[in-house]
Amino acid sequence: MRVLLVQDSTGHSTGYHVVARGLRDAGHEVILGGALLPREIARLAGEEGAEAIGYRIMDAAPAILVGRLVAELGRAGLADVPVIVGGIVSDEDRPRLAALGVAGVFQPGATLESIGAFFGGLAAARERRDAGSRR
């Protein structure tokens, strides 16, 4: 699937780049958006026809940023594009992200295999849904 990878800030991006290569090797198409504000992420997702958004969040309060991104995606008519968060997410923030409709959260220790498989699952679900809507 076409995955747009973005991050909240430019530094400490080793994981971001490693995941980008991992997803590519797992057969996904990866678009690197770099460090963007939520509004810019939604715009780029629309322009690039992204089928999923991987959002690396390092320092900032993730629920604030994800809340904004979800709102911007809704405004852009992209509410069905799943958002997956990567980074350190505190126990308090996990339910907040879940309530915002985040499809998945990957923390340090997650394997490339598990991340690739998760996106593979999203791609399969998307295909089933598309096939269903064609019937």
Binding site: S9, T10, G11, H12, S13, T14, H17, V18, A20, R21, G22, R24, V30, L32, G34, A35, L37, D59, A60, A61, I64, L65, I88, S90, D91, Q107, P108, G109, T111, L112, E113
Partner: protein, 550 residues
Amino acid sequence: MDERERIEAATARWAQALAGAKPLAPEALPCGIPVEPLYTPADVEGGYLERLGVPGEYPFTRGVYPTMYRGRPWTIRQYAGFGTAEESNRRYRYLLEHGQTGLSVALDLPTQCGYDSDDPMAEAEVGRVGVAIDTLRDMEILFDGLPLDRVSTSFTINGTAAILLAMYVAVAEAQGVAPARIAGTIQNDILKEYVARGTWIFPVEPSLRLIADTIEFCAERLPRFNPISIAGAHFRDAGGTAVQEAAYTLADAFAYVETVRARGIEVDRFAPQLSFFFYTYTDVFEEVAKYRAMRRLWARVMRDRFGARRPESLMFRFGNVCGGHSLTREEPLNNIARVTLGALASVLGGTQSMFTAAWDEAYAIPTEESARTALRIQQILLHESGAARTIDPLAGSYYVEALTERMERAIEAELLRVDAQGGMVRAVETGWVQREIHREAYRQERERQAGTRVVVGVNRFRDKRAAPPVAMHRADPALAARQAARLDQVRRTRDGARVAQALAALREGATGKDNLMPLLLDAVRACASVGEIAGVLREVWGVFREPAVV
């Protein structure tokens, strides 16, 4: 048979005896340099005086100073800073009371990227990964009660380094300390920001100009201040090998030397104030060889390529950090052992100043207790381990000397690859360096996940029942508002006309060629903010556009 032949014969006998048993598996350093199971005098090149010499003399392999830690221990400099200037000031006083010997200021991302605390770009980041500095007022509070002629301070600051340097000078003036007496370092190494750390603001050319301005200013006015700390640490922590870390750092350094020389300034006027900064991970001998090889290489290149003559210009002075990517979130107390090994390697490698990360820094800002334990690692090393008792104690080890040679050659080979890209500035602009590092980071991660690169407690000997740790340091949710309120108060009470005038002069100066430091000093003295000053420079110079690198 001379002695060398007899040694070689004995080694051959030893190898033959082994051949009957299970052969020893080949091993290599994490950077890829192969390691033999045994080293003998036959592996060491002769020429003691040319290759090693005595400490404080060319080629400085054994250390930059004649007496090293016998004369003065390395500086214990723990990276700290969070929240507002008051909170950070309290932490600095705490660390100094507990035996720290120098300050190292962590700044929040808005300050590093040139935004004020009330800027929409700063939201959710104010005071989080470091202290928020908007105006001179914050800087005065940060150093309240800390006389600047008595402490040395290192600032991890790059894009806005010149502004922070101007503020530090202004604080010294306000304390009645002559600028010539202040000591410290600004990181101020923009090339590695583009590759690995990410707090760049302006395009390459004006950024290099700003760096050259600070180097020139320090050479003239601040003889005890390092205007740059050329940092390999971030290449390393982004996934680069020890060889890449060393080579790209030296390549950056050579680019800065060329930039300043192009102004017609003689190398010996500024080279003595150049300093370096690296990560030390846990592979002790790789790290020791890295530092010894870099000292020798730097001295040779500075002398032969750049014509430096003063011994101080040839001295490779470096600080280091232990921790970073070598730490794990799993079983985090294991990190104390990892940091201790790195710290030992740094001392055996001849560091000038060190930061030992706290065990919880893999996932949080350290607590007071974990910060104290991190500090204690260095004190135990200094006072209990005996590692600092004699200078360069591993010299003459067949292994360490052979490895130092191998490391030096590997770094030189990587430097040639950079040259083939058209030099470091070009290699950064095209994204070549970024790609090299990302490829290596990916390779290492796959090795970790496959278990071929062992990380204890993570992919080997993992205790599956251990609960993942929770962050203990809590960010203060009211902090951004408090900081914005102080900025607002400064804006209302300062002389607005003076600020406008200083910023206008800066705008004019930025289009010209003269050194910007005097104009930056005027601006910070008038209490112009970091965001206002960076904003003016952004208007004139534009911003860097990251090359898309997959």
